[in-house]
Structures are given as structure tokens and as C-alpha cells.
């Protein structure tokens, strides 16, 4: 096996693959960083171009775009509080709080190191134990996933801020909005009121931008005359605040390991993807944290948890894809298409039939992580410079990107209407004290939960006890209970902390 990996490196250390990786990383970071334009769009656009390249170059380019794209989302999330994709919206919570405190450099560093560590770990798992790992992941069927998602929902306790009832209400609203459109289970149209345009539900990207990004723009406009509100991001004069010290890295190293493991595991379960992974890791990290009250208000550890988990998914979603030919999420599905078109049929045989190619691709994975580290690190100064421009330069640009991003996702004018409607809803929610972040959690998790719950119910029929027969389910039932208890407990502690808004 090790000679395979080494010969793989030999194949990747050539002009073609290296140039491909560099180009892929740069394209990925840019696409990921622009709010509203996601890695999957970049991959879909580049895919046909790779038809004419060899499989090693073609697939490493796509993977570089994917990994860098997922990472890139965290840059705009941290600097501008505009999560480019769902997976990086937790990062926006903590990262932007740090940016506001002048510690943008620290937040960017943390997210980069966490991302790369998460990806590396998942890639190593992929290379070493993909096959047995994928067989274990098969044991998690719909029933087990229901409980796993239930645990992911307990993150609400973390995100809800001061008021749990308001958090729950926000979550329910999110669940309600996620049900609009044609049910993928029964095919019935729900809450469409006869409009065909609503059959597909609310498109996610415009809704996310509308709820989270645009109300910020309005806030800035509203406070423009407020002398207290500085219009630029200040860089802290203390250089310690602009990078991550080794001590800090060591302090969160355990969280990174644990979150990467969670991300690797969730990524290997087909059908969940990076957002649930980030939620799970974040609530688990908070449950066991020494200072859980910092989460959501600028916790370095929070960034570490969310980023390492969502990037670990990049590597591990390849596990079921390559070994069982089951794409773990939508990006993996697209990549599987790329493998197929290049004549590499995913499945256990791929390791024997295309040994050289596959290990060269693996070597490309690891190399991508290194390039990502170097290229992104080199770009930080520039990114921070952009973000510290005066806000009257930034926010018009953010608005323009928000609208373009909303439109390009589906090339559909209706999405612009969705964006505007949710901007109003998002702003309104802030006015009445509802929590937009929790709303998004409800919106993201509900479709997964519903689909798996429906399948679980079909499987057990009327024998409901069967829901509780798997040890796997019990692990998550217990974790959910513990998580709820710890959120409630934390709230009972005398609150001497300054009240901070989570969003």
C-alpha cells in the first residue's frame, strides 16, 4: 500500500497535476469566498472542461476546487459576516465576532488550520481504512440517522442566545418554511397556494443571503450617522491578536481532532453532508467546552469545531463514493460523475483495476491541502485589506454580490424575489427578537430529518419498538439528552455576562 502511495506521489509531481492543483485552489477560494456562489457551481462549470484532460489531472483539479471552495466560504464569513455556503454559517457567528474585535487575522488563521487539519485527517482515513470504514457506515440506516439528526437539532440550545422559547419559535418557523413546495416523499404540494414557482420550495442560497446577509446591510445604513459605530474594521495593534499562537492551537487541538472525527464519520454516512456535520461537531464541542458561554460570541474553539468538521466531509464523502459507489452528498455525486466519465468506475474494484490512478489522486488530495495552506495564507493580507475598506465601499459590493449570487444559482428571476422577501423577513425577525441563525438550522435540518423519519416509519410499520433496537440509536439518544441538560444547566448559572446578540 505504501509503495502505491509513493508511486502516486511520483505521478502527481508533474507539471500538469501541480498546475491543475494551483489553478483549482485559486478558483475554489475565489468562488467559495464570493457570497452566494458555491463550490458545487464551480465544479459543475469546470467538469466538462476536464473531459479532455487525463483522469489524474482532471479529477485533482475538481477536488482542489471542491476543497478550496469549502474553505473559501469561511473567508467572507469571517470578514464580512456573509457565509458563502450553509456549512460556513457557524464560522460566521464566531469569526465575525472576532473580526469586530479586531482579531480577523486570528480567526482566519484558526479556520485555515482547522480546515486543513480536518481535510488531512479525513484524507488519511480515506487512504488507509476506506473499505472497512464504509462497511460500518452502512449500518447507519434511516432509523439511526433520525436520532443522529435529533442530536444535531440540540445545537439550538447553543445558538438560541438568551431566550430558549424564542429560539424554539425561530426554529419552528425555519421548519415551516422548509416544508414549502413539493414533498419529496409523497409528491404532495405543500403551502404553494397554487403557485408553480413555489413547487421547488425556497431556493436555499437566496434565502440564506436574505436572512443573514442583507439585514446586516440595512443595519449599517441605519447606523450610518451613529458616531459610536466605526465604519471600518480596525486591526488590533497587538500583533498577538492577528495570528494564532501555538499555545492557542494546542488548546483547541483536541477539539480539532474530535470535530474532524465527527466530520469524517458524518461525511461517510451517505446523504447528510457538510452542514449537519458542522452542527454536530459544534454542539458536541460546546457541550464539553470549558467556556461554553463564549460560543457564538467569538470563540476560536467554535471556529475550529465547525471548520474542521465541514472540511473533513470533503475527504470522507469520497469513502462511500469510491468504495461502495454511493455519493455522500451533492458534490460527491458530481465528482462521481467525473470519475465515471473518466472511465474510473467507483466501487471496491477501483483500487485493484486503477491502482496507480487512484493513488495518484489520493496523493493529489494531500498535496492540495498543502497548497491550500500556502496559497490561502499568502492571500490573508489581501483579504483583510479588502475587508478593512470603508463600509460604504464594502456593503454596496456585498449587495451586488448578494443579488448576483441569488440569481446565478438557478438563473431564475424568482430567486431575486425570494432574496427580497427573506431580507424583509430576516430584518423583521431581528426587530421582534427572533433568532435568524436558529431559523436557518431549522430550515437546513428539517428536510433530512423528515426524509429519514418517513423512511424509518415505513421500515418499522406499526412495530414502533423497532426504532429503539439499534445501539447506534441509543448513543445518539443519550448524547441528545446530555446536550439538552447541559444547555439548560448553563442557563441556570447566574448570568453575569454582558448580553450579546448571537447574530
Amino acid at each position: 500500500m505504501f509503495d502505491n502511495i509513493i508511486s502516486g506521489f511520483g505521478l502527481v509531481f508533474a507539471v500538469g497535476p501541480i498546475l491543475g492543483i494551483i489553478a483549482g485552489v485559486i478558483v475554489g477560494i475565489i468562488f467559495g469566498a464570493i457570497p452566494g456562489i458555491s463550490a458545487i457551481m464551480a465544479i459543475a462549470m469546470i467538469l466538462p472542461m476536464t473531459f479532455y484532460l487525463g483522469p489524474i489531472v482532471g479529477i485533482t483539479i475538481l477536488l482542489a476546487v471542491y476543497k478550496a471552495g469549502i474553505y473559501g466560504g469561511s473567508i467572507s464569513a469571517i470578514l464580512l459576516n456573509t457565509p458563502g455556503a450553509a456549512a460556513s454559517f457557524l464560522t460566521a457567528q464566531d469569526g465575525h465576532a472576532l473580526t469586530k474585535a479586531g482579531k480577523a487575522g486570528k480567526a482566519l488563521d484558526m479556520s485555515l488550520f482547522a480546515s486543513v487539519s480536518g481535510e488531512m485527517l479525513a484524507t488519511i482515513v480515506l487512504i488507509l481504512i476506506a473499505a472497512p470504514f464504509s462497511l460500518i457506515s452502512l449500518q447507519a440506516g434511516p432509523i439511526e440517522k433520525v436520532f443522529l439528526l435529533l442530536f444535531a437539532f440540540t445545537i439550538i440550545g447553543t445558538m438560541a442566545g438568551e431566550s430558549i422559547p424564542r429560539g424554539l419559535l425561530s426554529c419552528c418557523l425555519g421548519m415551516l418554511f422548509s416544508m414549502v413546495g413539493m414533498s419529496s416523499i409523497t409528491g404532495a404540494s405543500r403551502f404553494t397556494f397554487g403557485y408553480t414557482e413555489l413547487m421547488g420550495g425556497f431556493t436555499f442560497t437566496p434565502m440564506l443571503i436574505g436572512i443573514l446577509v442583507m439585514p446586516e446591510v440595512f443595519n449599517v445604513i441605519r447606523r450610518r450617522k451613529d458616531p459610536q459605530n466605526k465604519l471600518t474594521i480596525t486591526r488590533s495593534p497587538n500583533p498577538e491578536d492577528n495570528r494564532l499562537s501555538f499555545k492557542e492551537f494546542r488548546a483547541v487541538f483536541k477539539t480539532i481532532l474530535k470535530s474532524s472525527a465527527i466530520g469524517t464519520f458524518v461525511g461517510a454516512l451517505p446523504g447528510l453532508g457538510s452542514s449537519p456535520a458542522a452542527f454536530l461537531a459544534y454542539s458536541e464541542a460546546k457541550r464539553t467546552a470549558k467556556k461554553p458561554e463564549e460560543y457564538g460570541k467569538g470563540s476560536v474553539e467554535g471556529i475550529a469545531a465547525a471548520e474542521s468538521a465541514n472540511n473533513a466531509v470533503c475527504g470522507s464523502s469520497m469513502i462511500p463514493m469510491l468504495t461502495l459507489s454511493i455519493p455522500g452528498d451533492d458534490v460527491a455525486a458530481l465528482l462521481m460523475g467525473a470519475f465515471l466519465i473518466h472511465g474510473l468506475t467507483p466501487g471496491p474494484m477501483i483500487f485493484f483495476e486503477h491502482t496507480q490512478t487512484i493513488y495518484a489522486i489520493f496523493a493529489g488530495f494531500l498535496l492540495t491541502d498543502l497548497f491550500l495552506l500556502v496559497i490561502a495564507r499568502a492571500g490573508f493580507k489581501f483579504f483583510i485589506k479588502v475587508a478593512s475598506l470603508r463600509q460604504y465601499y464594502i456593503f454596496p459590493c456585498v449587495t451586488a454580490f448578494a443579488f448576483t449570487g441569488a440569481y446565478t444559482t438557478g438563473q431564475n428571476m424568482d430567486d431575486i424575489i425570494v432574496l427580497i422577501a427573506f431580507t424583509i423577513i430576516g430584518y423583521g425577525m431581528r426587530l421582534v427578537g427572533l433568532n435568524p441563525a436558529v431559523f436557518i438550522i431549522g430550515f437546513i435540518l428539517t428536510p433530512f430529518f423528515e426524509q429519514n423519519l418517513d423512511q424509518a416509519m415505513s421500515i418499522v410499520g406499526t412495530d414502533y419498538w423497532q426504532l429503539f433496537t439499534s445501539p447506534f440509536s441509543w448513543v445518539f439518544i443519550i448524547l441528545s439528552i446530555l446536550s439538552v441538560i447541559s444547555s439548560v444547566r448553563m442557563r441556570k448559572k447566574p448570568v453575569g455576562l454582558p448580553k450579546g446578540k448571537t447574530a
Partner: protein, 315 residues
């Protein structure tokens, strides 16, 4: 010169046929063509269309751009094309699901008649699959058991093509499974090989790798395939109907004949390209190039069967 003459003929015919038509056409195509895929990127339909688009581009000489307009069980993208200009620059990736099933089983603002079929590229036969360790070795054994016990069957959505076809098969054979609807057939195969469900309906791109790896078994299929020797067909068991998924290209109804001819000619050429043949083989699709009235009549027959099934389901 030849092009100019062709253009002249086209212009005069267009004018003669309908003065109302404002589209004055220089030889079609003279600008990029958009093909809408009403599903997400990376699925079978998407890949089939992307390979086609890349292949006909060479012959047509203009970019053929694939756009994913997914959501609403394919209704969003499909109804968009139904309303699009009839100039041949907006086409739709048509298939069993968005053309034959959805208009009958869901409330869709379009029907099969809103489109002019142009070509069919590929088809895939539906199969009934069980896990390798399942006690059922043959389809009759499976049916005998399914008649007495409730078995679970994986599919992808209550009014999806999979469940509708599965329901016709079940009715013809006299059993009633409990459907477990995953998001995609790939996900449903995970539940099957993981031992969470008893059986599943799926197409070869989804079940092929599992069968090849010895994790799953095909009991019965729509059509014989060289990759699956000795697997009986539905017809062998007296089950009538066409249980195949297919992928084709349709245009909004009323598109000029010139467009149909041009695209058909380009596709015919592409379907002989060894590179295209290899790419389709790689994604597990069987090339099934068809066009013209006979093909359209076949689809209308299947449409009729679906209509009857939908009427019965509503009772």
C-alpha cells in the same frame, strides 16, 4: 454561398409558413443553445445531457450550455422550457419522470403535448433488486413471500417514476409492498445493502456497482442486458408494460422543423463518435438513439398506461 442560399430558403419558408413568427432565422443555430436539466448536477440525466451537449457542440458550431434548474420534482425546469421561446435555443432534458409520470401524477402546469420530442439518447431498464444475503433467489419466490408478508421496497418518492413503475409491477404480480422513499435511488441502494430494507427498484447506474461487487442481486429486469446474463425480464413473467428510464432532448411545442432536423442530424453524428460511446458506457447507460414518429407513438402508449394508472390511484 451555400449557407447563404440555405438561409434564404429558410427565411422565405418561415415567412411563408407564418408571418406571425417574428423569429427571423439565419441558419440555425447562430447563437448559444441552452439545455435545461430539471435535476441537480451529477445525476444520470445531468451526465447524459452534458455528454450529449459536449458532443453536438462540435457539429453545431455554437456552445451548448447545460443549465441545472432543479426542484419541485423536475416541474420547475420543465415548465420553464414549456413556456420558453419556440426558437430552438431553449431545450429540455426529457425523461420518463418529467414527461410521462409527473404530468399524470402531480399537478404540473404542462403536459407531454407541451413539447416537441427531438431525440432519445439513452435508456436504462428498471430492475427489482434484493441484497445478496436475501432469502429470495428468484422473482416468483419473492412474489410468493410478498403476497403473505409485508415487505419493504426502496424507491424515490411517492409520485416518482420509480414508485409508479413499482406499483404497476406489484399490481400485476399481486403483492403490495411498503415503499421506503429515499432521496435518490443511490441512497435507496445504501439502505438495501445495509440490510435496512427488503428490496428496491433501481436502474443499472445505481445498482450495477453493487451487483458487480456481489452485494446485491437483480431478480428481474425490463430488458436483457449483456452485463446481467440469465436475469429474466418482466415479460417472461407476463408483466406487460415498458419499465425503462430514458433520457432525451425535447423542445417547446411548435419549434421549426429545421431545428428538429438540425439537432437530429448532429445527434446522429455524435452517437457514432467512439468517444461518446465510451463515455455513455462509462456512466452505465445504454445508447438508444431514436427519433421520429414511431418513437413518439411508443411514448404516447406509455403515457396512456400512466394515465390509466393515475386515474386508478386517485380512486
Amino acid at each position: 454561398m451555400k449557407n447563404f442560399k440555405k438561409a434564404l430558403t429558410v427565411i422565405s419558408t418561415t415567412l411563408a409558413v407564418s408571418l406571425a413568427s417574428s423569429a427571423v432565422m439565419a441558419a440555425y443555430p447562430n447563437k448559444p443553445i441552452n439545455v435545461i436539466v430539471p435535476w441537480g448536477a451529477g445525476g444520470d440525466s445531468d451526465l447524459t445531457t452534458r455528454i450529449w451537449a459536449k458532443a453536438v457542440e462540435k457539429d453545431l458550431g455554437v456552445p451548448v450550455v447545460v443549465i441545472n434548474k432543479s426542484g419541485g420534482g423536475g416541474i420547475i425546469g420543465t415548465s420553464y422550457v414549456a413556456r420558453a421561446r419556440k426558437d430552438g435555443y431553449t431545450l429540455i432534458n426529457a425523461g420518463l419522470s418529467n414527461m410521462l409520470v409527473t404530468p399524470n401524477f402531480s399537478k404540473a402546469p404542462y403536459s407531454f403535448d407541451s413539447f416537441t420530442p427531438i431525440v432519445k439518447m439513452t435508456s436504462v431498464p428498471l430492475g427489482v433488486i434484493v441484497a445478496a444475503d436475501s432469502p429470495y433467489k428468484t422473482f416468483p419466490e419473492f412474489v410468493a413471500n410478498a403476497k403473505n408478508n409485508t415487505i419493504t421496497q426502496g424507491s424515490w418518492g411517492a409520485s416518482s417514476s420509480g414508485t409508479i413503475l413499482a406499483e404497476i409491477i406489484a399490481k400485476e404480480s399481486g403483492y403490495k409492498p411498503r415503499y421506503v422513499n429515499a432521496k435518490s435511488s443511490a441512497e435507496s441502494m445504501v439502505s438495501l445493502v445495509g440490510g435496512h430494507i427488503d428490496s428496491a427498484v433501481a436502474f443499472p447506474p445505481a445498482f450495477g456497482p453493487h451487483v458487480a461487487a456481489g452485494r446485491a442481486r437483480v431478480l428481474v429486469m425490463n430488458k436483457e442486458m449483456a452485463e446481467y446474463p440469465n436475469v429474466p425480464t418482466f415479460a417472461d413473467y407476463g408483466i406487460k408494460g415498458s419499465f425503462e428510464g430514458w433520457s432525451g432532448i425535447f423542445a417547446p411545442k411548435g419549434v421549426p422543423q429545421e431545428v428538429i432536423d438540425r439537432l437530429t442530424a448532429a445527434t446522429a453524428k455524435a452517437m457514432k463518435d467512439p468517444e461518446v460511446i465510451a463515455q455513455y458506457k462509462n456512466i452505465g447507460a445504454t445508447m438508444d438513439f431514436r427519433h421520429g414518429p414511431e418513437w413518439i407513438a411508443d411514448m404516447k402508449t406509455t403515457y396512456g398506461i400512466m394515465k390509466t394508472a393515475a386515474a386508478e390511484a386517485k380512486k
